[in-house]
Amino acid sequence: MKNVEASIKSGNESLKTKISELAGDLGYEETAYHLPVTYALTGNAVKNADDARSAYQRTGENPFVACECYTASVTAENGKEPAPFTGFLPDADLRKMGYSLVDGSILGLALVAGSPPGADVVAGICRELQEKYMLTFLAGDVVGTLAGSGVKVGAEYRLVPLGSTPLRGIHFVDIIARVAMMFGGVSPGDPDRLISYARERAKAIVIVFPGLNDEEIAFIDALSILGIPILSMGGYEGGNWHLATPENVVREGMDQKGIKVTVTAIPIPMGCSPAFEGKSIRKEEMHVEFGGGRTPAFELLRVRPAADVTDGKITVIGPEIEDVPQGSALPLGIIVEVAGSAMKKEYEPVLERRIHNFVNYGEGSWHVAQRDLVWVRLSKEAVSKGVHIRHIGTLIAAKFRIDFPNLLDAVQVTLITDEQKVKSALLEAQKVYRERDQRIKDLRDTDVDLFYSCTLCQTFAPNHVCIITPERPALCGAITWLDGKTAFEISPSGANQPVPKGEVIDATTGEFEGVNRFVKKASHGEVERCCLYSIMENPMTACGCFECIAVMLPETNGFMIVTREFKGLTPSGMTFSTLAGTIGGGAQTPGFAGVSKNFILSDRFLQAEGGIERLVWMPGQLKEELSERLLKKLSDSGRQEFFDRIADETVTTTIEDLMDFLAKVHHPALDMPALI
């Protein structure tokens, strides 16, 4: 049993001696990258022993530099090792290899070194690596052992024998360094970029058998700086080496590095592509629908321990498609459970919002809104082609795996269509929604320098941009500022981008120079200014996903709010859906705004117009839903009597009666400055 830490120390010492003893010229042929690792780290071309020593000093006695210079010197002196050993690979081979990595015909790289106990063990591991599309490099005794087992080696078999000793594994590192410089835009002499490229992009693992000497251990251990997991087959203790068995070593390594055999085709009997996202399914075209006010429905995504999630498992609880006649409405609970080592609880809402896109990708499936407001339809055409309710689950599970390969290892989906069960699961879901909203409660817009954007809805409202601040959650209610931040973390080039606030142009209307600049660009020049706390002046655009619409009622000098759930006529003379049709599509409509329920409770809501006391009407159900929190907000400022001055449909749904009511209760809006 070798102690890794102790060996590293003495290994580095003897490497140092080797470097001090170097003499003469050194260098490789058929490459434009000199000694690639050293070149990448220092930017200098090493041509002789003195260059090598100075590079070794300059890199703080880097073991890679030592191994590379030493190997190059031995090669210069004795020539290349005889076949089957390849030694240093020329640039032309590297291009081909890089090609296969980008192309996807190779998923990753593996280095196997050391002295295996027997041919069978190493043959099994190498076969598994081949089957999993890994390109494997061999260094040391492992080559001979493998040859004895009848496994063919050579580049064409994706098993490349680099050299006769484990130190020749340095070529594995020079390959990574050259790929970084050729494909990754890493410039020579920029070690930080090289390391971050290797960590993020190089899908590489190393498997070590027993028998390494101290120098070799020091070399192998250095690979962990490049983010390469080291899997030990025994014989070593200490260090950050993971002990594995022949049966699980390949899977463990690939898991640790996040190398995944990808899902490509989604096995459902309908087309699935972002191309279908913009289409809708009209009532006449629909076979069955869920939610949308007709039945209870919700969606929820949770992270679970890996043991509790079976990848690809789809469960339907309740009636399937053949159990209901055409044109029916079923309740629906979509519960997506995910597992993954990099997955965090904070990511839940962000991923949950993707369900919307994924279901819309289906040629015959359609989805609007979010959380407990969802509305889903399946088309007659799709159902006649064999689409079932469970296929919504298959689609969601597969898309999550395809779109978040580095985050998720397993996704299972449960679809509940049984009314009682949906109702009880819904209570649970609402608790989760509340907890999520709670997390952001105390953060103020003035506490942060960055807001976040969302342009997910540009697929159907091409110039729409949501700006999400701590106090103004997205109008769809599904994305808070924290979610925006998280989403940006997960995919830095995705739909949520940081928006620097910049100079405050007007603190009351919530106009910021940075926000304007961002919105102008992201709306493709359509929207020049965006006031976050105003509805009358340059309000935010509305895509169509809003939980509620706030509408100015000129007669009342105030605003009303209507929710997606409220089906009746409002004092504006219009229903929610008529209003939605008027303001959606990504246009800026002064006097109208799409808002989330939580934003109503924010001090920034209607700030430019004088605050919550401008509110004259909202549906009873919303009033009830917000009552506890709204009453608290009002009583904190000694205005609790205002609550009863907000009318609802039990008071009236006409503007005339509303005017009478407002006069009777002395509604404050009547005495506020005129809105127009």
């Binding site: 291009r95 081909k96 890089g98 980008v102 192309d103 494909f183």
Partner: protein, 317 residues
Amino acid sequence: MTLQTQNIWNGRIGTVTIGADRAHGGTRTLQYTLGGEQDLAAVGPGATQQRPLIAAEICDDPGIWSPIVNTFMGDTVNDTAGWAGTMESEYHPDIVRLHLTSTRKRNFKDFSGIPETVSGVLKSTGLPLIIEGSNDPSIDSEVYQKCGEASSGERVLLGTAEAGRYRSIAAAAMAYNHCIIAQSPIDINLAKQLNILLKEIGVPYDRILIDPYTGALGYGFEYSYSVMERIRYAALKGDQDLAMTMISAAPDSLNIREVREARDDETDRTAATWEFYTAFSAVIAGASIVCVRHPLAIPLLKSAIDSIWPHSAGREA
């Protein structure tokens, strides 16, 4: 002739360089840098207006090619390299576009023939090349690797990446320093999405050209026109993901009824004219490279383009 601009745009089309001359590590007699426009085609200040280029299309297996072109060219079509040379010396296009139609045959296996064909064409013409590879995902990997390697250093334009299959082409472009054509089926959102996919696997935006897919004039061309217009508007309004040069080819122009049913002595003229009108409309919609197959379409296009872009200055980098 330039029209006054009607809009204040805030975007600019990115540039892309095709072909590499000796000074840039290749063997082409010239190279082009396209893009940089700040307004619609033939509108606005002349300084940013690039003269569109004409690509003459040829192939390595005339069995899968327009019989009209085959008849017109005669035996030449059986010698791919010679065909490329003839196009250059007799019809003077700006670019040669080689379609490796041989790879479209069932059970294609002759991968070693590809480098031969490509280097033959590279020798017989000094013009920058577009190379169109296979059409079948199961052989893409090998075909594009060969195309990329055989034309290494020449900065060719490789075609054609689509949403479902772009990895091999992207890999070839990245490994061997070429540019790529990204084609989407007449849909601005899909065009944008494909560009983003390409960016994510590491293809820089200055190596991508958009092919919005073009139908023949009178047979759906109006959809292509409108999508090209929208792509250009979006780019000029600042959408970086669409701010690429466009390429347009409408090979269907040679298969339409009017051409098929033309009188024998009218066939060539009808075919060339139809290609010309389609391609010229694409130029007006914003295409920077238009591709034609009938040699007689080339002089027609040349004189039409000359009438709007009298100067060829600036197009050779």
